[in-house]
């Protein structure tokens, strides 16, 4: 039996795990195009159990979490600098994506009815526990911030206007406080998902833990900035700068990660992961260029924003799939560990 892995390489099955002559002949009959990867494995089977997280739930959550967190920063800045349309767009986008991402997280559970068990304990050793608590603090703040941003439109609702009139100070404190609280917790929401992926035995995720947070916040900033580009050009300048900075940060951090990872980073180039990441790069470059060059046109700005949005989503899908590939191929687990072990032995 021959066993061909995801990358098309033939793993050494067992160790000389060939018994009969028939197998031997068959092996000669189907010479692989790529030379045999020189590593031991058990019939080419994976060492790790691959993540059972579903698509689009988890990559979607990574994307929306980044969008929400970075969006709250833009929303707070817009409130401070009196850009009401930008504030409305970004705060609405933030709470919307926070709610959808929470739904995605619950849907991904094997036992969705038990989602509240996430708040049974607080464990700093578990990024998922930290993230659950973070989202519980963030989502209500982002919600109030969005309502506050829409207060002028909501005045027409009788109940809202009576509350605004009767408790002007309290509503102001609640609104601005929530906007600030969302801006404080938002960056953590956007960044922690990198630790969520890295704190696993999946080689492409774990070994990228230094750069992955910067890839993710850059991607989040590009998406939130892209959303802000839908605001009128008079208000969207900060979103434009934010989006371009974010796209640059993402591309730079990703290239650093890719060059540092060596063979463990191969799934970021090939297969579904590589495909999404190539699309992401192209979209990010186009979106950033459009954001700068089309700054006087609201249509070009909005198109650029959409491209940045798609780039951010493609990044998360790409990173997610690259991790799955690296977990399913024993090569990425065995080869680096074997090298590490051999180096330690020669040093002794």
């Amino acid at each position: 039996m021959s066993h061909t892995d995801a990358a098309g390489n033939r793993a050494r099955t067992g160790r000389n795990a060939v018994t009969g002559g028939r197998r031997h002949r068959r092996k000669h009959g189907e010479q692989p195009m790529v030379p045999d990867a020189e590593f031991g494995s058990y019939y080419g089977l994976p060492v790790l159990n691959a993540p059972v997280w579903k698509t689009p739930d988890v990559p979607g959550y990574l994307f929306l979490g980044g969008l929400a967190g970075a969006g709250s920063l833009l929303g707070a800045g817009a409130a401070l600098t009196r850009r009401p349309t930008l504030q409305r767009i970004t705060t609405t986008g933030s709470i919307g994506s926070a709610l959808v991402s929470l739904a995605a997280l619950v849907h991904d559970l094997g036992r969705p009815a038990r989602f509240l068990n996430m708040l049974r304990v607080f464990k700093p050793s578990s990024p998922m526990s930290v993230g659950s608590w973070l989202l519980s603090a963030y989502a209500p703040a982002a919600g109030v911030a969005a309502v506050w941003a829409h207060r002028e439109g909501l005045v027409r609702v009788a109940a809202v206007s009576s509350v605004l009139e009767r408790f002007p100070t309290i509503t102001r404190i609640a609104g601005t406080g929530a906007t600030a609280a969302a801006a404080v917790t938002g960056p953590a929401v956007a960044a922690y998902t990198a630790a969520l992926l890295s704190d696993t035995a999946v080689p492409a995720w774990h070994d990228g833990y230094r750069e992955l947070p910067f890839v993710f916040i850059g991607s989040g900033a590009a998406a939130a900035g892209g959303l802000g580009l839908f605001a009128p050009t008079t208000e969207s300048v900060p979103a434009r700068v934010f989006a371009v900075l974010g796209a640059g940060c993402e591309l730079f951090a990703f290239e650093r990660m890719r060059s540092r990872l060596g063979m463990v980073g191969e799934p970021y180039d090939t297969g579904p992961g590589g495909m999404y990441l190539k699309a992401s790069k192209a979209l990010a470059v186009c979106g950033a260029a459009g954001a700068v060059l089309g700054r006087r046109s609201r249509v070009i700005s909005a198109l650029s924003g959409a491209a940045l949005f798609a780039a951010s989503a493609a990044t998360r899908w790409g990173v997610f799939h690259a991790g799955l590939t690296s977990a399913k191929d024993p090569k990425y687990t065995v080869v680096p560990q074997r090298e590490r072990l051999n180096q330690r032995r020669t040093r002794q």
Partner: protein, 317 residues
């Protein structure tokens, strides 16, 4: 820190680090693969005792191993590896003299000259060996599955083992990619994560785990971990003395990347040949550094927003 975090616990006494001041000795498995005969009694006993559902009756076509690997529904897995490598000659230790035993001396109806090997003629050192090994959850000193579990469903027992509380698990699946050995998994149609409990119910009542009880060759040995480690050390020395230079322990070193395994092995080849990672490291060992990088990235995001609004303010003027 919560009482369930283990990678941050000091020393090699996970039960004490998890809040059991007076606890029984740490219990574990020593799986001596040099005497495993591949009977799979451990797999069956485990399934029966723990009421594990059937998970496919497939033929893998690769060897006598039709189980494949550890999963939510396989807590013991016997690996079969065929190699073109001599394992040494087995001497039956029987001496036969006299005509009465002529037939028996011959060992079989086949004359010794025509038989490669029979009970009285050991034969030559062959160019073929078969490795068999019963894999199981390692019950790590620093257990990544336990560290990353957000619900506290995975916990450390007083025996130093790691167990899932199925009434709490919400099936988030985080433990699955966290395990460096590919042990724990989510059960189809059930949604929760399952793995070996080292028969918590049996050992709590003074018994031994079902697999160890069923093992006919004592390849699976259960007992206090320090005793098992001493016994394993002696066994390796014995095998080396008998010329089995390949014998080595796997997971017995308390200073390895997972702080030593509660279930460790005597192997006759490199670990990856058995489907085991050669140098596993608990992923949470790098978590403090991960959090620092996350904090730096979050700060960078705030900095980029500040820069964006500052640039916009300057652009207006």
């Amino acid at each position: 820190m919560t009482d369930t975090a283990s990678s941050t616990g000091s020393g090699h006494d996970p039960a004490a680090a998890s809040g059991y001041p007076d606890h029984p000795p740490r219990m574990g498995f020593f799986t001596d693969t040099s005497v495993c005969i591949g009977c799979k009694a451990c797999e069956v006993a485990c399934k029966e005792w723990n009421l594990i559902p059937e998970d496919g009756l497939d033929l893998t076509g690769m060897s006598y191993d039709n189980t494949g690997g550890l999963s939510a529904d396989t807590w013991r897995h016997v690996a079969f590896i065929e190699q073109r490598k001599p394992i040494g000659v087995q001497d039956p230790g029987l001496q036969h003299t006299g005509d009465v035993l002529a037939m028996a001396e011959q060992g079989a109806a086949t004359p010794p000259a025509d038989a490669a090997m029979n009970p009285t003629t050991p034969g030559q050192a062959g160019e073929f060996r078969w490795l068999m090994s019963s894999d199981v959850c390692k019950h790590c000193t620093h257990a990544a599955c336990l560290d990353v579990c957000p619900t506290g469903s995975l916990f450390r027992t007083e025996f130093g083992t790691v167990v899932v509380q199925e009434d709490i698990c919400n099936g988030c699946g985080y433990c699955i990619p966290a395990c460096p050995y590919g042990v724990i998994d989510r059960r189809e149609g059930d949604g929760r994560a399952w793995k070996c409990t080292l028969c918590y119910d049996r050992i709590g009542a003074g018994g031994e785990p079902a697999c160890a009880k069923a093992c006919p060759t004592e390849s699976i040995q259960f007992g206090p971990l320090d005793q098992l480690r001493e016994r394993a050390r002696q066994r390796v020395e014995q095998l080396h003395g008998e010329g089995v230079a390949d014998a080595r322990l796997y997971g017995a070193d308390p200073d390895d990347g997972v702080g030593g395994d509660g279930a460790f092995f005597l192997l006759l080849d490199e670990p990856e040949v058995y489907g085991l990672p050669p140098d596993p490291v608990v992923t949470t060992r790098d978590l403090p550094s991960m959090w620092r990088h996350v904090a730096a990235a979050a700060g960078t995001l705030v900095g980029m927003a500040a820069a964006a609004f500052t640039a916009a303010a300057f652009g207006k003027r």
